[in-house]
Amino acid sequence: MDTMFVSLAVILAGGVAALFLSRHFTLMKVVTIATTTAGCGVGLIYSLSHLLSYAATMEKSWSWLHIFTLAFKVDSISLFFLVVIFAIPPLALLYSFQYMGDKTKATRTAVNYFFFAVLVASMALVVTAANIVTFALAWEIMSLSSFFLVIFDYQVKANRQAGYIYFIFAQGGAMFLFAAFALLYQHTGSLDFSTFSTIPENVKLLVFILAFLCFGSKAGVFPLHLAKIQSGPAAPSHIAAIMSAVMSKMGIYAIFRMYLLLDAATPLIGQLVLVAGIATGVLGVVYALANQELKKLLAYSSVENIGIILIGLGIGMVGISEHSPTMAFFGLAGAFLHVFNHSIFKSLLFMGAGAVSRQAKTTNIDQLGGLMKRMPTTGRTFLAGSVAISGLPPFSGFIGEFLIYYGAFHGISNQRIPFILAILAIISLAVIGGLAGACFTKVVGLAFLGEPRTDNAAQATEAGSSMTKVMIVLAIASLVIGIVPEPFIRLAFAGLHDVPYTAGYDTRAFMEIVRQVSQTIGIFIGLLLLLTLFRKLLYRKKEIGSGPTWGCGFTQPTVRMQYTGTSYAAEMIDFYRPFVPTKKTYTGISRIFPGKTTWQTEVEDVAEIRYQLHMIQPLLKFLHKLRWIQHGRIQLYIAYIVLAIIVLLLFL
């Protein structure tokens, strides 16, 4: 455990070093990145070695402010999440070396690195915290530091807006968290996590829901996802990658940890998580499909993946309450593995988006195109990430979903509610997979393939080597996990080692299946190579012509005739119309010689609209009406005092 604190100290030292070296831009970056990476490396080795050796839980605590203890505890679940926390940030930092290249923003970059280090350290503390106060402390530091990371580019109004919404969700969520903890404290009288299970059954559900509101908003559960989808596009790409890939997993961790600690008998919790997961997954991907802003799309896709993870967790929880060990084990393991996988390919995709925004000056899909030729490495790695995130073999996304499917299928039993939930989970997973495929074919097909739609896109060049190298590493990692999933599945299983319900589950039979999966993917790749060879043979010594795309008889095609993201998604979005309101503005044609007409569609987030319409506007209106109170007339001010006296005297 001390090793971990040492690594955190090193990470923080890297962050502080950035503040002191902000005048020497390159030196600052080198020192910070090297130090922080070293710290993360130590942490990674520590967590991996303990995780795989099934080491017993470790605890450590200090007294704080006389009445609290700062208690930390490491078990297999923490270790698993620590692996993610320590594995991804170094890559993001390496990526940032060239991505954060603006020397005029040296101070700001230094501050960014500082808070980056704080964020990593606080996330490590979140997953190791063992009592209320420690957890709340780490959680709040995490929220605050990530806020500063989000508003890096604060000159842009939209980014400030995003930062604001992020801030509100963070603090609002924290308040719900405080309430949940306080409710626990009311019943246990203790701050320690281990006493949670002793509270009355009927309170547990309430506690969980309160906590879920907090953790869900951090993770990005629909309809609490607004902060997440706002912050994703606003933050610099490597930050967005960390936030989406790692920090939102803290929400998942906390939901799961809360569930374990509460040890509630009610099946409602599992059902709630599952249903939330289904809604989040499906709506997340539909919105991803509907959005043309690449980073926003990726943020929505994170929402979708959180949905998948929650479906896994939900399956696991339902399995636990139904005493179905297979369902429980594989639901949870699938969720864990997907946490790991998603952190890899989502980082990859965000970094790709960052490279695109840097090189092509825009991330709007409808203005991109043809980048595969201009940015070959970014394009190829992005393609790999897209296949992975669509859950398609032979990349890593499939493996996590496979485990969840496996758990869900084994949940199909005689009990009605779990049966229906399992069916819904399976179908929604399938639908999510299909939609994700549609979504990412849109991104790759329209942004990277075809012809550039604007000059900016046409003039894009490949991103710097530190950026592309990181992306290559991540892409290869995704592929390796997909082809040789066994060690990584073992990692997820090891993460479940300390979960009481699934402890001691015999995984040998399943490992056989995993080997088969691996083998089948091998066969597939072999077949693919064979066919490629066959194709090569067929084309040997043949004339390969090239010409323009056939325009179906149209002789003067322009790049603007290409299908756009909006048109690609239109029909699919239309299918989900009630949940995906689309604002269409059409100027219409009038007069005999019509002027310029415009047609514009914009997809709005249903949650945002509802909040705006039913919460924020009435609230603001109400508050505005009450502003009359402070009208400036002293006579009435005195009347308030008199009134207060009279009212209080009535209680006498």
């Binding site: 402010l65 604060y154 801030f167 306080a182 009311q186 502003r627 005195i638 308030y640 207060a644």
Partner: protein
């Protein structure tokens, strides 16, 4: 002689009134240091009150005294630099009144006698009114007028409350000195009805001074119109002193077995203050007014915490300390902003992060602190208050509490974001100086330090202060 804490500033204040400006500034700082030294001596128990029938060194009094003395030191350092930038026509008056103000506040902190406390609080009004009126503008005049009139009415009512408590002694046939400590010992013999009536008048009276809604109406005007060092003193020290009056009345009620009655009133007023603050922080136009409403909110939080009792009382006391530190720091920063941008309107500020980086750090850190983010202490105190409220089973109250906190945060953060990061293209009038930034940093740093390491004596003092109203940190 603990009374030196009142006498020294009084004496130096008179001197400063008649000396040239140059010496006055020195006297201000020297007095602040002296005062802090005496206060620390008092903390160590080295000196005791000379007039025990009127004054006593109660733990809560010492707490408030220390906080006031501590922030006074930094505010006076700031004030020296601030005054050199602004042209104040009557600087000797300002320095003199500031010192008198400190004197009267020290008196409040030490007063044990019901009427002496009342007189001291009255005196704070007298001494602080010239501070608010310092700029002699129309709006300053209006603010002063409202401050004086409303506070006078409130204080007059508090006097009535004192009479009622004396009456409750008469009816209960109690023959003790009218000090809080003496009354506390015989509290159960006092007539409950008159005691309750007395409490109501006291809480309304002192609550007016403390800024509890609906008596808070003077507060935003006065805080926004006063020069920033004075605002910082008003918010950081004066409100605490007024709170002391409320707190001691509540303790008397608690000792008389009427704790539920006074608790409910405090909770009600506290929540009302928070909600009112929430209303006005949304779409607020002036940043000093925003800070003033935030003071209303935080006084509400303290009243709420004290009303809840138990663990929450400890939280409220911590909140008092940290609020004073952070809020005075914020007001000092706001002084820099006012100097730099030349306007109190939020719409006429912006992009502090770039143009005003040092102040920005202090201002934004202060905002994060006041909103309850670690590593500032309000994180702990709010958590404790919420936990305490749940522990007492006050679910509905705490729901309102949390709702108000969220609303206030949503309102304030929008404004602070606008000021910190919003677009702004004009010139900065007066640049920031280290002398005007360091005091803010020092205050914030103190809050951080106290959140990491709470000295044992401070902890024990808080414990003994809250023990008398059933406050505890265990169970």
């Amino acid at each position: 002689m603990l009374e030196f804490t009142c006498l020294i500033p009084l004496f130096t204040g008179i001197i400063a009134m008649f000396l040239p400006v140059k010496f006055g500034r020195g006297i201000l700082v020297v007095t602040a240091i002296l005062h802090l030294q005496i206060t620390v001596l008092a903390w160590m128990g080295k000196i005791t009150p000379g007039l025990p029938q009127y004054f006593s060194a109660s733990p809560e009094g010492l707490l408030v005294l220390l906080v006031a003395s501590f922030i006074f030191l930094f505010i006076s350092i700031y004030a020296v630099s601030y005054m050199s930038e602004t042209e104040i026509t009557s600087e000797p008056i300002y320095i003199g009144c500031t010192l008198f103000f400190l004197s009267s506040m020290s008196m409040v902190a030490l007063a044990d006698h019901l009427v002496v406390l009342w007189i001291a609080i009255e005196a704070t009004t007298l001494m602080s009114a010239p501070l608010i009126f310092l700029h002699r503008s129309k709006s300053a005049l209006e603010a002063t007028w409202k401050y004086v009139l409303i506070c006078s009415v409130g204080i007059a009512l508090a006097l009535l409350g004192c009479f009622f408590i004396v009456l409750s002694m008469d009816i209960g046939n109690v023959e003790v000195p009218i000090t809080f400590s003496a009354l506390g010992a015989v509290a159960t013999q006092l007539d409950p009805i008159w005691l309750k009536a007395g409490f109501i008048f006291l809480v309304i009276g002192y609550g007016t001074k403390m800024g509890l809604a609906p008596m808070h109406t003077w507060l935003p005007d006065a805080h926004s119109e006063a020069p920033s060092p004075a605002s910082a003193l008003l918010s950081g020290a004066l409100l605490n002193c007024a709170f002391l009056g409320v707190y001691r009345s509540h303790r008397l009620m608690y000792q008389a077995g009427l704790g539920d009655f006074s608790s409910n009133i405090l909770i009600g007023l506290g929540l009302l203050s928070m909600l009112i603050a929430a209303i006005f922080i949304f779409n607020q136009t002036g940043y000093k007014r925003m800070l003033a409403y935030s003071s209303v909110e935080n006084m509400g939080i303290i009243a709420f915490g004290v009303g809840i009792g138990g663990l929450a009382t400890y939280g409220a006391m911590l909140h008092l300390i940290h609020h004073s530190l952070i809020k005075s720091s914020l007001f000092l920063s706001s002084g820099n902003i006012l100097l730099g941008y030349g306007s109190k309107l939020i719409s006429k500020t912006g992009n502090m992060a770039r143009l005003f980086p040092k102040t920005f750090i202090a201002f934004f850190a202060g905002f994060a602190g006041i909103s309850g983010f670690p590593p500032f202490g309000i994180f702990v105190s709010e958590l404790l208050i919420i936990m305490g409220a749940f522990q007492q089973g006050r679910i509905i109250s705490v729901s309102i509490f949390i709702l108000a906190l969220i609303l206030i945060f949503a309102g304030a953060s929008r404004l602070v974001m606008k000021m910190s990061f919003g677009a702004w293209n004009n010139e900065i009038l007066i640049d920031e100086k280290m002398a005007r930034v360091l005091p803010s940093y020092a205050l914030l740093l103190t809050s951080i330090i106290l959140c990491v390491w709470l000295p044992d004596s401070l902890y024990q003092t808080i414990l003994s202060a809250i023990a008398t109203i059933g406050g505890t940190v265990h169970g």
